[in-house]
Amino acid sequence: MTGPFRTEIGGRIDRTRRIDFRFDGRLYSGHPGDNLASALLSHGVHLLGRSFKYHRPRGVLGAGSEEPNALVRVGSYESRATPNLRATQVEIHDLLVAESQNRYPSLSFDVGAINDVLSPLFPAGFYYKTFMWPAWGWRRLYEPIIRRMAGLGRAPTAPDADIYAQRYVHCDVLVVGAGPAGLAAARAAAQGGARVLLCDEQSEFGGSLLSEPDTTEAGRNRLAWRAATLATLAASDNVTLLTRSTAFGVFADNFVALVERVTDHLANPEPALPRERLWQVRARQVVLATGAIERPMVFAGNDRPGVMLAGAARTYLHRYGVRTGRRIVLATSADSAYGVAMDLHRAGLTIAAIADVRNEASGPLAAAARAAGLPLRTSTHIAATHGRLRIRGATLARNGTGAREKVACDLLLMSGGYTPTVHLYSQARGTLRFDESLGAFLPGGDTGILQVAGACRGIFATDVAIADGAEAGTVAAARTDPGGAPQPVRTISVPDSGALLAREAPCDRRAFVDFQNDVTTKDLRLAVREGFVSVEHVKRYTTAGMATDQGKTSNINALALVANERRMDMAAVGLTTFRMPYTPVTFGTLAGAARGNLFDPIRQTPIHAWAEDRGAVFEDVGMWKRARYFPAARETMAQAVARECRAVRTGAGLFDASTLGKIEVVGPDAAIFLERMYVNNFRKLAVGRARYGLMLGEDGFVLDDGVIGRLAPDRFHVTTTTGGAPRVLAMMEDYLQTEWPDLRVWLTSTTEEWAVVSIQGPRARDIIAPFVIGIDLAPQAFPHMAVAEGTILGVNLRIFRVSFTGECGFEINVPADYGSDVWHAIMQQGTVFGLTPYGTEAMHVLRAEKGYIIVGQESDGTATPDDLGLGWAIGRGKSDFVGKRSLARAAMRDPSRKQLVGLLTSNGETVLQEGAQIVTAANGNASIGHVTSAYFSTTLGRSMALAMISGGKARMGEKLLAPMLDRTHEVTVAPAMFYDPKGERLYG
């Protein structure tokens, strides 16, 4: 069934097909080409929403993205529901389900409307003035009520079922807006040989061409011109055309973000298609042809359903074949309204009255209206409107005289002139100037890389807009080829127009300025009276322009009122800042594919699959997955860790250390370089030997550590912590490239070149010796801190004799692709020796037993080498290294600095919590340090902890307290070395 307000012919809808959809539970129908607003209007449904604050009934105001009122929730499943969509932008499709928002229990009867009755109590900023007593009242009493009242739609509660995509694109010329100006610009730029991208937020190209009757001022057939231009564009292979794509943000250097709505308009989209796609465009030149938005008039009762922008009514008529009413009153301050009046008149609608606030209406359009006998009244404004859920009539009043006349109507159209859509221009940091004759802010000029054309710069005549667009396109294309022919220039200038900006609301009754946020003339006046004179203050105090339409229809009116109230020029009052996005953008679109395994790369070692099979529990360290422990059947973490530790101490354990950062430092000056970067001495390090390296930041604090082996006089294999690898390499590069470019050294990350299998324990040597060819692993031949290259199982090997456990240990580096097989082979070989894989947790326990620090756990970016008991690492006699000078500052020598110590609880079963604070019995409130690591040690048969304690080294044996959540524990300070203090096992 076609809606009763549908015209018989015309419009761009496909009348041969019917689409059924639901709004607030009721079934309606429309046609392909309709949006939700046009389809509902075709059924005479005007009431579509409720306002934010007063819950006033609201109808459709506009016909596009400027719509402030008709906001709906679309989607029947929570996983596909979207709140706050503009009915004017929702294309209908079969089975579309939409519902109204911010009302209870129903749209036509909403209890929240009580706010409207009480509105005198709720002027702008009322909440700053009350709800303060009692002091707890805000949080517990008032805020919950206010929160429930506020908010428009309902957020979805189920995870989004849709997919989003992103794309970077480059072009020579990006044209935003495909009205006459944009189409002409794109065609001209394409003819100039440029790579062109043309986008428009609407479902079809054409902009205002689709909304206005057939011929232009100069007699050009609009639709024919549009079709011909589009055909040319479609045939050019250097042109990309994007409908349903909004340019929402312009950033530095012509970086423009577009969002393309791919599937929302389809009933059954292909499942693989993304719902929306983000286009991140880098354009050498941009042409903005974004048109202009009509301004509402400000008068009492200007917000009832059935009050609409004049141009919108024309769009509904010509584009959608919908009559938005039968009997019409027009309120205007601009000539453009007369064109609309004539259109509607020709379409058979009754024009009951035209109220022009201006003292005269002299343009050709007004003359035509007069000639057609339309009831035109100048010097007349709307004093009131009538009706509740739909307008029933309006009271017209003569300016100044008070003479009134009530006119019945079911549609009231407003035309307060046009506001050029300069949002993107302003985002691009273009400067605006106020044009008095247009009553509008216009672009001040082009920025060299960005131009404006058409209605967006105040050129409203279609033929001129076309010419203007063509010029802009030609100039843009030419600029992308600076070496080419002489650069063309723009010649068309902006004409005057007779629009009058309504500075004054002609009467003091409640007139709405920002419809969605219910900001009235009274609110704006109140704000100014209370001293909020800057427009930015007015905005924030009244919330004008802060709604989901960002004031597209209201900002200029609000500004005019403020200017009037302050008796200032519009230009002096100035605009609030335009910010991205032009229209709201889905979070999912901005997040794109970055979800699940694409949220962040998952870095896995070559041994990962083996560990996974073995049931390892992994932990995240940066992007890496590391095996934390390997529970056997039904083992708890504690049991698994105890078993793994035991194995290392008594037999041997195998550990995947592949994540360790590795940097190959090569070149004749490699040793000098390392000596400057690390606190240690490297010049004297013999080939075949390795050394513990400690790196500081220039501020003197420990940044990273690792083992550094010398493979050749000019070649070092440097290891870093897992998390520190990128930071260390970047810092080394920085010093090398910018401080010491004379050094002949090159740095290469080899973290991923090598899989690292660490074998630790008294049987380690026995297990691997048979594999290692060409290296004598005997203690004397290959002592602690030796390094060598050789082969294992026929593949290259770098082997370090190092230990982070206190046992005799070897780190076997093999090319990563072989890592898994080498690990397998060693595991197999080791079975008879009880070789046990162990994870990071056991590694932590074992190293803590030895008092070895973990950078980032014992140190926290505020520890010096001395604090950590690592002063010994500092190379004697070195005059300089990164961080050295800072160590001489007063604070670094402060005796109360925290120092690394061991702690033993009086009760050996108690494992302190990491992070627990330490106090003295004398002063139980002042922390003197904290626990950095705490474990139950199977080796010791008791708990142990490492801690950073103020003046800790001087406190050996002292009893201190560790207050934990349950109770306070007594601890004794001990050396940070619980196991094999002489290192006999290490060197054995």
């Binding site: 997919i163 995509a165 992103q166 794309r167 970077y168 694109v169 480059h170 790579r195 693989a272 298609l273 993304p274 796609r277 991140q280 880098r282 594919a593 970055a594 395994n597 694409l598 962040d600 790369p601 998952i602 870095r603 896995q604 070692t605 070559p606 699959a609 992007m623 890496w624 190959e664 090569v666 070149g667 004749p668 002949r744 050294v745 090159w746 290469t748 990350s749 080899t750 973290t751 991923e752 070149e753 090598w754 048979p770 594999f771 199982l793 026929g794 593949v795 093999v814 090319p815 990563a816 692709d817 072989y818 890592g819 898994s820 097989d821 080498v822 397998h824 082979a825 197999q828 070989q829």
Partner: protein, 187 residues
């Protein structure tokens, strides 16, 4: 005693093969030998002769022969690609040619892994995560550079008008693969 280990690609079997695809095909490239060569232009010139492929001194350009390639990555950095079994020969040749002169040669055959994307819409798939202009006028055949793909760093090298070689650190390879497959599905 265990057997000789075999190379296991970072991409794994699941990601090694992909049937033909109208928009873009993805395949893992066979294992290769790879070196990072670091040094100044004079050393680079000598090395190029020894390697058999001159090192480009023009930025972001690769030179190649039948089975070897040298990719400019930085003013003192080239990535050398050669067949898997050529590793020792390459190394020996360069060491011999350069003698005591300052340079660095680091084997990175296992650090990186390579895949190839080819087809009429390969650039569009790449541009899902790569912010560069891949139009042939801006990224011609023979151009190579390190860049970004989503959250991974890659080396991108256009080997033919519709074919790109991607070199990537091994742990990022599965991500890159999955990213491209996802992007291709959403064209």
């Amino acid at each position: 005693m265990a057997e000789q280990p075999v190379r296991q690609s970072a991409l794994g079997a699941a990601r090694a093969t992909q049937g033909p695809h109208a928009a873009a095909c993805l395949r893992a490239l066979p294992a290769a030998s790879r070196f990072s060569f670091r040094g100044s232009p004079p050393e680079a010139e000598t090395a190029g002769v020894a390697f058999g492929v001159p090192f480009s001194l023009q930025s972001c350009r690769a030179h190649q022969t039948e089975d070897r390639a040298a990719l400019w990555l930085g003013p003192d950095e080239w990535l050398l690609l050669a067949p898997e079994d050529a590793a020792r020969a390459v190394q020996a040749a360069l060491i011999r040619a350069l003698g005591e002169r300052p340079y660095a040669l680091i084997g990175i055959a296992h650090r990186n892994t390579a895949l190839e994307i080819s087809g009429p819409r390969a650039t569009m798939v790449l541009n899902a995560g790569c912010p560069l202009d891949l139009h042939t006028s801006r990224f011609p055949v023979g151009m190579c550079t390190r860049t970004i793909l989503g959250k991974a760093e890659i080396i991108l090298w256009r080997t033919a008008s519709e074919v790109f070689h991607i070199d990537v650190w091994r742990t990022f390879a599965p991500y890159v693969w999955d990213f491209l497959i996802e992007a291709r599905a959403r064209l």
